[in-house]
Symmetry: C2
Subunit: 422 residues, 2 copies
């Protein structure tokens, strides 16, 4: 069963979790002075509207009409009950997923790419720069820039640029200009932190350009809250009250924040962030101030981190290979409101195949982390007989990640790192 909402029910305000935090967020610090930064420090990189949202304490923030017009191309996204998966597992749990894979870029990322492109356009900025790892974010920003008539320059982690030519072509189809990163070392496979440095440096040195980030920051998570808000209404239509547990994969935190933050005020709803053991920021990192990028150009953020020079093994879930985590998610984990768990990629692909063969769709490797945790929650419910309600974010499809499936199906996947022999 699927529950759709009509186009006019895309949420018209974003849900701001900041007033609901039990401990306040630590302020970002200037990378040079290590003093709290102000709006002027961020103005070379971001439009004022987004800087305002970054620090806003308002409980709800209006979505501009021009943004709604574009979101309505694919939103509200369907809420689907995974009845065939339930049956395959023999669980009494009821499993629902929010299908964010239906966006033109194939993931949740356009939810923030569209407002970011809009606000930059509105403030007269004709060109955006960004980085991309697996390519989900670069695709989303290229798509959004195409609709608003902005130039888009994408610094793509070199290993992905070489291994995932289809992602590059997708960005180019929407007019994006894609180059491998790091730009100054053609022999280096690159990392997300390095690509951020390249993109920030580009934007900071050109008058006509701003920088755009696809995760981590408060305003990015804010834009993603349309996911959880819609899911609440749809669960109501499905005859459920509240879910017992909300599950999402977590790299920088934008997908997990999108599905979970609107449930933060609902005490009794468990919130579970799932990450790869190869880059287990929330479960094994330290909570401290760290840079967002490798070169130390970005402000210092208070977050769980593995260290800004940490280079994770090249697992296939490229979107989860970030050394840090969103300050909002880190705050909630530290406060005990959000739980976290980690899985090795062999267990993750096992879950992906089980989902595809029972339910149908082929998930992104990132999304499959959530599915692994969902299956384990559902099997635990089978043991106890509990009719648990599980909600998860189906953050993206795996159609541009089939090389990873090929490795798994033909025994070339290392349990927890790169493909064997590569």
């Amino acid at each position: 069963m699927r529950w759709n909402l009509p186009s006019d029910q895309v949420p018209e305000a974003w849900f701001n979790v900041i007033p609901h935090l039990t401990t306040p967020l630590d302020p970002p610090l200037h990378p040079g002075t290590r003093q709290p930064i102000g709006p002027d420090d961020l103005a070379p990189l971001f439009p004022m509207a987004l800087i305002g949202q970054e620090v806003s304490g308002e409980p709800w923030i209006d979505v501009p009409g021009e943004v709604l017009d574009v979101l309505r191309l694919w939103r509200p996204t369907p809420l689907v009950r995974a009845e065939r998966l339930e049956k395959a597992l023999g669980t009494p749990a009821r499993i629902y997923y929010k299908d964010e894979s239906v966006s033109p870029a194939g993931s949740h990322k356009p939810n923030t790419a569209v407002p970011q492109a809009f606000y930059n356009k509105a403030e007269g900025v004709p060109r955006l720069t960004t980085e991309t790892g697996a390519g989900q974010w670069g695709s989303a920003l290229s798509f959004a820039c195409s609709l608003f008539g902005l130039e888009c320059k994408v610094y793509m982690v070199r290993a992905s640029y070489q291994q995932k030519p289809y992602r590059r072509v997708m960005m180019e189809t929407w007019g994006g200009d894609v180059v491998p990163s790091p730009v100054d070392d053609p022999d280096h496979p690159g990392s997300l932190g390095m690509a951020i440095s390249d993109a920030v440096r580009d934007a900071a040195t050109r008058e006509d350009s701003h920088y755009s980030l696809g995760s981590v920051l408060n305003h990015v998570l804010l834009h993603q809250t349309v996911i959880g808000q819609e899911a609440k209404r749809q669960l109501d239509l499905a005859g459920e009250r509240l879910p017992d547990v909300v599950i999402g994969c977590c790299g920088g935190g934008s997908n997990f924040g999108g599905i979970s933050l609107p449930f933060v005020p609902d005490e009794g709803v468990r919130l579970l962030a799932v990450e790869p053991t190869a880059c287990a920021t929330l479960t094994t990192g330290s909570f401290e101030y760290d840079f967002g990028d490798t070169a130390g150009l970005t402000p210092l953020l208070s977050m769980y981190t593995l260290g800004h020079d940490f280079i994770p093994p090249s697992i296939h879930a490229g979107g989860l290979r970030y050394h840090g985590d969103a300050p909002i998610i880190s705050n909630l984990v530290r406060a005990g409101r959000v739980e976290a768990s980690a899985y090795p990629q062999s267990k993750v692909f096992e879950a992906a195949i089980e989902f595809a063969r029972s339910q149908g769709p082929i998930p992104a490797p990132e999304t499959a982390h959530a599915i692994r945790a969902v299956i384990d929650e559902a099997l635990a419910a089978k043991e106890t007989g509990e009719e648990k309600v599980i909600l998860f974010s189906y953050s993206g499809h795996g159609l541009l990640d089939l090389g990873a499936y090929d490795d798994y199906l033909h025994g070339r996947l290392d349990a927890d790192g790169a493909p064997t022999g590569s």
Copy 2:
């Protein structure tokens, strides 16, 4: 704007166009005797339920509940008004598309793969064989077999097998067993006609196996009529009466039949089939009896054909590279009820890029043929000022065809044939 229907509004009967044809269909002939074939001749290849549907004169045929249960995983599919494309073209035409790309296999093909798998399962057949060119059909049947617990063997045109590894992996993810065709000549690039021969030979020589065809036959087009039926209801919700013109790309005819056949009784609604100039069956072929495959193993069908030994240039729209056309579509073209036009692939990709950059989604090369014709109809309406209503089938996404976009964007695409230099 998008119009969704709830899951319980998947059509519960298929629309049979046969009673609406002004001239009767010519019967299929036995490949040996050249006499009309009977049910017994087809029994080694197909279940009796499908043989019955192939010759049925009933105006409506019930969809089994078990089939509805699976179709409801993604159906009803959205009807979308392409307002951003309209605006980019500056046309007074209103353009609607039926988005069949939302199925797990990414195209309209599962609409018939699911009932075919179901009827075989119901009659105790544990294994299906089929052929695939671009991979859309093989993916759909692998998906359907996975849900019903059947084995699936796919003979994939060797050139596609080598050029499109992601399609193979997609089939394998759903458990399909994929081999390159022709099986007896590892140096031959293959063709759809040859792959049909391989798949038919396999099924005919094994007790446990039936054969499954993804287009051309009456029962296949019948199953696809859910598309046009839903579109009618959704156009009504959108406040339109009937479209002025219905457009679909046409290879074997299953996509075009799906969107257009329910409109055959609606006089005044133009129906336009679009094909590639490289394989222009309806616009340049002869109407005569011909084999469906290269080796001459299948019954002879009365249809437009370029000859069963015709090997089209290797254009990127692999799903439109078939020498013949469905007898039903051929009959309607000959009777003047359906129009046909043909485009070279350079003009087709130009339209695909225009659609992606204005509206968002990246279409399959096959689908882009329809989009080319839609744009030309909309531009003609701009000349005349006519507020024409255009409906087309968005038969599939292009996410596994990005190599074709890469060739186009980087000037490696021959205007009407293979990539240059290949």
